[in-house]
């Protein structure tokens, strides 16, 4: 009998995947749940349900059947044709922005907003950043690039399977000269033998495929993280340390949320740059941070225990260098946490 139920569960699993592939989220989840009812030990079905629900929120089960994953994958990518400039971005109204986003991918956007930190005006900032990311190539083409005039080209990732109609090569603004290696974009002409800025390794031929829903989810995570990697580098190059730290944090959060096997190939090469971004944001290591939030407000905030530990060490006498030594969580995580606390205005450096 076990073999029989396996077959039925397998069939339901496949059915769910097929539905999910067509964007019929609720039907897909229903099929996987049915598979689980038949075979409660079916890990694959459980993981798929968990993943989709975690990714798309509880509304996933009742999501409209006509939302296609193809649309999900069309989240503005590094390689999309730019549509805005900095000036235009500043003028973007939040409502307009929301409207634009709703047209493209309601599920993913909603979930993304839900996952944002709850303190401050982060949501608005995130929208602005997303706009900026998608605009970076055009911004540079319009003369806002750094002093050495190195054209900005996304280096961390190339997506070639998201949209059949928009190949990355075509998406690069014509003003940015490129050279080719095989069938993918690698780096700007003239920088072939240069060490990449901020110690980040360029990955010459990364190609993200999306054969299954999980692959597709990974592709989305990679794409978003890659954008943040690029934004982090761009921000560092232009001296915007706040932006660099925030982009680094976004990329790392994207990696945290990504399903297994994760997106280490995007994050790991950029880790040194992220550390640099956090360090630059935190400032000199001899500086002494102080708490600027009262205990009552602090207790109502949400932190993990590592942050709690670091906070307990901030007593107005210990410098950053000492906190890094005693934090017990390594330099990278300590700097990241300090940067996060600084952004959330929990601490300051007087």
């Amino acid at each position: 009998m076990k073999g029989g139920s396996d077959n039925t569960a397998r069939a339901l699993l496949e059915k769910g995947l097929a539905r999910y592939g067509r964007g019929q989220i609720a039907e897909a989840i229903a099929a996987w749940r049915e598979a689980l009812a038949i075979d409660p030990q079916n890990d694959e079905a459980r993981k798929l349900v968990d993943f989709v629900q975690a990714r798309l929120g509880p509304a996933a089960a009742t999501a409209p059947a006509d939302v296609s994953m193809r649309q999900t994958a069309s989240f503005p990518s590094v390689t999309d044709e730019p549509t805005d400039t900095t000036d235009e971005m500043d003028a973007v109204d939040d409502d307009d922005f929301d409207d634009n986003r709703k047209d493209t991918n309601p599920e993913v956007d909603r979930t993304t907003e839900e996952n944002l930190p709850s303190v401050g005006n982060v949501s608005r900032e995130r929208k602005r950043r997303d706009t900026l990311v998608s605009n970076v190539p055009s911004l540079l083409a319009q003369g806002t690039r750094s002093r050495n005039e190195t054209p900005f080209v996304p280096r961390a990732a190339v997506v070639d399977d998201l949209d059949e109609d928009s190949s990355p090569r075509r998406a690069i603004p014509s003003s940015v000269p490129t050279e080719e290696s095989g069938d993918s974009l690698t780096r700007p002409i003239g920088s072939a033998h240069k060490t990449p800025a901020m110690g980040v390794q360029m990955r010459p031929t990364a190609t993200f495929r999306s054969d299954t829903p999980l692959d597709m989810a990974l592709t989305i995570a990679r794409t978003r993280a890659a954008k943040m990697v690029d934004l982090c580098r761009y921000s560092l190059e232009t001296g915007n340390v706040d932006g660099a730290a925030e982009a680094a944090e976004e990329a790392l959060e994207e990696a945290d949320k990504a399903p297994l096997p994760g997106i280490a190939e995007v994050i790991e090469p950029a880790r040194a740059m992220f550390e640099q971004a956090f360090a630059a944001h935190v400032g000199p290591e001899v500086a002494v941070p102080v708490m600027v939030t009262d205990n009552a407000s602090l207790n109502t905030s949400s932190f993990d225990h590592k942050t709690g530990f670091l906070l307990s060490c901030i007593d107005g006498s210990l410098a950053v260098s000492t906190l890094l030594d005693i934090s017990g969580m390594g330099r990278f995580d300590s700097l990241r946490t300090l940067s996060r606390l600084l952004r959330r205005r929990i601490i300051s450096f007087g």
Binding site: F303, D304, L311, I326, S327
Partner: protein
């Protein structure tokens, strides 16, 4: 003016430094304002050496690379049972040294125990130098009364490695009594009850005509304030487990915070009847969520949790009195030493036990260092008439037939001293005798420590018991033991001088002292570089603030573009230098940024600018 000698209480858990200034003893606070500094040394992930409070604050989260309570190990042999026992209880790695000595491994480096103690002594030296404003090179360091020669020598070596000439090692209870009796005509029998952070010692001293003599001493090297902290911690952990079904011991960060909070609340309860423990975000309960710990503990609860620990100190006190053949009522004064004696219940128990209230005239955390400073001053000031006599901490003797230990000098004998005893041969026709010099209290020679051996040859062939050999033990004021054996018939003599060793060779000590001095210079160099880097950073910030105005002021002027290019170049140079932390480049950047700022200021101050 005579040279300043600092007094250092090199404690198992905390250390303290004091100096006698114009006849008044002063305890010197560290940079954080605390008068005691944890005797904790750590190597951080970045390879930085951490000493004191900083090292203590990461002692749980970086437990493998944090050495504490090395005083329990110093001067001991690798094969000693104490070392084997301690190895089982500490999280840091204890390894065997090249001379059967004990070493500590932190990160990928191994450190001898005198070296680790030297890091603490060096910290105390720096605290004193910061306070006094000049270099300090001489110190009196205290050790427990039961320390043997090897342990005392290891402490002296630690001083040398730290760049200090330890002119005298004195017993902690003696130092405590000295501080207590400072400025008074002290006479009588004093009990020094020393409950520190990690150890408990009780010593009975006889003070007569300015002579301090340790009559008996007893203790427990694994009983102290940390045990009291652990009881509070256990109470908190168990309560939290009941409430949330989470074991806080499984998380090192939570444990570190609990440990710190337990110690703090214990101290608070010495002055208040109730105290609150508030640890927000103590342990994770999901992404970006953490549980808080908030509890109130009363003094009564603390006493209930630790009553057996206090009882143990009284049992040991009873043993010390028995050794001295005294009753509690024979004690004329009780001196409290160690932070734990601030606990009201401890004071109450001591009062009840001795039938008299303990003396509270001196701070228990500081009293030993103060005594050491008083002794230090007495040693260099020719006008001082204070006499402080050391005693031998252990009995000295030789091994005799049957494997027994024959004592020539009993423990607690005041030094300098000399004792002789006549022995005879044990076999017919015996022409030589082997003198095995030992130290210890056991009747069985094998259970005591061998200090050295030599052979007296050329004895007359005779029946056993006929040839007499006189063995003489001498201990100088510096604690150097000489043993000689003389054939009373022929006058032939052999002798040996026993020099205590810490387990390090002279070359090793010199090398360690040099490395330590180099490290101190390197740290100072890093601080200097950081100072310049900060100056450059400030200058860059200042220039960036002025840049807008300067640009507008210079626009269209012939000098404008040239000047701004130079400023840009100086800024770029400064940023690169700051990133690389290159000392030379930073110096250059400071100069060029200085010029840039002067130029900016000139432009901005130009008459006619509105």
């Amino acid at each position: 003016m005579s040279e300043v000698v600092i007094g250092i209480d090199l404690g198992t858990t905390n250390s303290c430094v004091a100096v006698l200034e114009q006849g008044t003893p002063n305890v010197i606070p560290n940079k954080g304002g605390y008068k005691t500094t944890p005797s904790v040394v750590a190597i951080s992930e970045s390879g930085r050496r951490l000493v004191g409070h900083i090292a203590k604050r990461q002692s749980v989260t970086n437990a493998e690379n944090t050495a504490y309570a090395v005083k329990r190990l110093i001067g001991r042999n690798w094969s000693s049972p104490a070392v084997a026992a301690i190895r089982e209880t500490v999280p840091y790695k204890i390894i065997q040294g090249p001379h059967q000595d004990v070493r500590v491994q932190m990160r990928d480096q191994s450190f001898s125990l005198p070296e680790v103690s030297a890091f603490v002594l060096q910290e105390m030296k720096l605290i004193a130098e910061d306070y006094l404003g000049h270099e300090v090179s001489k110190a009196v360091v205290t050790v427990p009364a039961y320390f043997n020669d090897g342990q005392r020598q290891a402490t002296k070596d630690a001083g040398r490695i730290a760049g200090l000439d330890v002119i005298r090692i004195i017993n902690e209870p003696t130092a405590g009594a000295l501080a207590y009796g400072f400025g008074k005509d002290l006479e009588g029998r004093i009990a020094v009850y020393d409950l520190g952070g990690g150890t408990f010692d009780i010593s009975i001293l006889e003070i007569s005509n300015g002579v301090f003599e340790v009559v008996s001493t007893a203790g427990d090297t694994f009983l102290g304030g940390e045990d009291f902290d652990r009881r509070i911690m256990d109470w908190l952990v168990n309560g939290f487990r009941k409430e949330h079904k989470i074991d806080l011991r499984e998380d090192m960060m939570a444990l570190q915070r609990l440990k710190d909070a337990s110690e703090k609340v214990k101290c608070d309860l010495s002055s208040v009847r109730e105290a609150e423990i508030n640890l927000p975000f103590l342990i994770s309960a999901g992404k970006n969520q953490a549980l808080h710990l908030q509890r109130t503990i009363s003094r009564n609860k603390l006493e209930e949790l630790t009553l057996d620990l206090i009882e143990r100190t009284l049992q040991i006190s009873r043993k010390a009195l028995d050794d001295a053949e005294l009753e509690p009522s024979d004690i004329t004064d009780v001196v409290l030493v160690g932070g734990m004696t601030r606990m009201p219940k401890v004071q109450e128990a001591v009062t009840e036990f001795f039938g008299r209230a303990p003396n509270k005239g001196v701070h228990p955390d500081e009293v030993v260092a103060v005594g050491a400073a008083i002794q230090g001053a007495a040693l260099v000031e020719s006008t001082s008439d204070m006499l402080l006599l050391d005693v031998t901490p252990h009995s000295l003797g030789i091994m005799v037939v049957g494997g027994f230990f024959h004592r020539l000098i009993e423990k607690n004998t005041t030094v300098p001293t000399a004792r002789s005893h006549i022995f005879t041969t044990t076999r017919d026709g015996q022409t030589s005798v082997k003198i095995l010099v030992m130290q210890g209290e056991s009747e069985r020679a094998e259970e005591n420590e061998i200090l050295g051996e030599f052979v007296l040859t050329g004895l007359r062939k005779a029946a056993r018991g006929e040839v007499e050999v006189e063995v003489t033990f001498e201990i100088s004021a510096d604690g150097i033991v000489s043993v000689s054996a003389r054939d009373l018939e022929t006058g032939q003599e052999q002798s040996i001088t026993v020099t205590a060793t810490s387990g390090l060779t002279e070359e090793e000590i010199q090398q360690m002292a040099q490395e330590n001095a180099d490290y101190a210079v390197a740290v100072k160099g890093d601080e200097d570089v950081e100072r310049v880097r900060q100056q450059v950073e400030k200058m860059v910030d200042q220039a960036m603030t002025m840049m807008g105005e300067v640009k507008s002021a210079l626009s269209g002027t012939p000098f404008g573009s040239e000047g701004l290019e130079a400023a840009d170049s100086a800024l770029e140079e400064a940023r690169t230098a700051m990133r690389r932390k290159d000392p030379d480049a930073l110096q250059k950047a400071r100069e060029s940024m200085g010029r840039t700022l002067t130029m900016f200021q000139t432009v901005m101050d130009k008459p006619g600018r509105s």
